[in-house]
Symmetry: C2
Subunit: 231 residues, 2 copies
């Protein structure tokens, strides 16, 4: 049961719509502000009603449409409890289960490292890893309470213990890739497969990435579900 995967070319962000037979309820993960109408059109065409909007973390590179989609659809916005997003309907913790449709369950996994609050979501053999684990890579760990030690523990100690066949759907991809599996990443991920925590910390410390252009706008906006402050 694959999700519907949608892409934002500006920030290379993946948004996911989860739906399953037997119900018209759907969940959206990491929707992007400038695509809120596109995403609504998909729900309309597929005859789906939005039940939940999930954020994997407070993004630094794009603004979420969570607040807008909540306003238009009445869906509940659920966010990681450690991300400082007070206007959400639900603050998620590790092990929480989100139920929708006819018996669908999404399990919440706390996977800190890219940010301290980052969550992954597990649904029907699919894991949505946000910026924690990317295809053959991972999110950066040098801002927003990021920690290479925490990211290592989240990936190696938690995500890599999922069944090998689990399909891994990342929050971004910059190389035209769409999906991977836990088994493949465990064996081949360039930063994390067969690496010690110290080796991984060294890789991450030497990345020297520039500051994300939008971070000073995007993070405060996302901590308000993408709505203007005061709105």
């Amino acid at each position: 049961m694959n999700p519907i995967q949608l892409f934002d070319t500006e920030s290379s962000t993946y948004t996911y719509i989860l739906a399953a037979p037997g119900s018209d309820q759907a969940v959206i993960i990491d929707p992007v502000e400038r695509h809120w109408e596109r995403d609504l059109r998909h729900l309309e065409r597929l005859n789906l009603k939005l039940a939940y909007i999930l954020e994997t973390h407070a993004h630094a590179d794009h603004v979420t449409s969570a607040g807008k989609l909540r306003e238009v659809t009445g869906a509940k916005a659920c966010v990681p409890s450690g991300c400082g997003i007070p206007p959400a309907d639900q603050q998620l913790s590790d092990g929480d289960v989100i139920r929708f449709g006819a018996g669908e369950e999404i399990t919440v996994l706390h996977t800190p490292g890219h940010t301290a609050g980052s969550m992954s979501y597990l649904w029907r053999g699919n894991v949505f890893t946000g910026d924690t684990l990317l295809i053959n890579g991972c999110g950066r760990t040098d801002f927003q309470s990021g920690s290479s030690d925490d990211l290592y523990d989240s990936v190696v100690g938690k995500l890599f213990t999922l069944p090998d066949a689990t399909r891994m759907w990342p929050g971004h991809d910059y190389k035209d890739q769409a999906v991977s599996t836990i088994g493949w990443e465990k064996e081949h991920n360039a930063r994390l497969a067969h690496k010690s925590k110290a080796e991984f910390a060294k890789i991450m410390s030497e990345l020297n990435l520039p500051k994300p252009k939008l971070i000073d706008i995007a993070v405060p906006a996302n901590q308000n579900l993408g709505l203007p402050h005061g709105a």
Copy 2:
């Protein structure tokens, strides 16, 4: 059971990988030459073996990787019988069924109009319509034995008789849209919903589209499965 949907930004072409639980066999529809390695990487990461390569028609805007993928994977290349692609392993006709994996069936639907040979493929409540039916639009009908009358009959007389909930996966999209349903297109498609054959013919005759840049290269190449002639 959604397919895995992959995109080519140069030609706005969608490629699809079809896989289902219970087997490691997969089918790919309309793969693009410049992405053959990307597509192989997806198969590798998902631990899938390619059984069939399907073409919806002889494309005019991009070159297929069907020949290359056949060479590398040993999969069978299946093409519409009316598209003049002699080196294929199988020439498909309306009503043919392609079987793969653990009981998976793909039904072949002849849907001429964009080209005389164009086929759509039906799998588990999904229809892959190539350039016959696009989201809120359709393929052009002014070259390669195209016919607006035939396209009207293919869409209104055939595709629109599928169940409303059938998910419609197009061969292209130019507006960031990924998927639709037969029910939505039947009610809302700007060119075809609630239109007579004469009204549709008028719309198509007034499009005045430029000749596709690659047509003189792409069509002969695709009639050889994307391989150099003489290879």
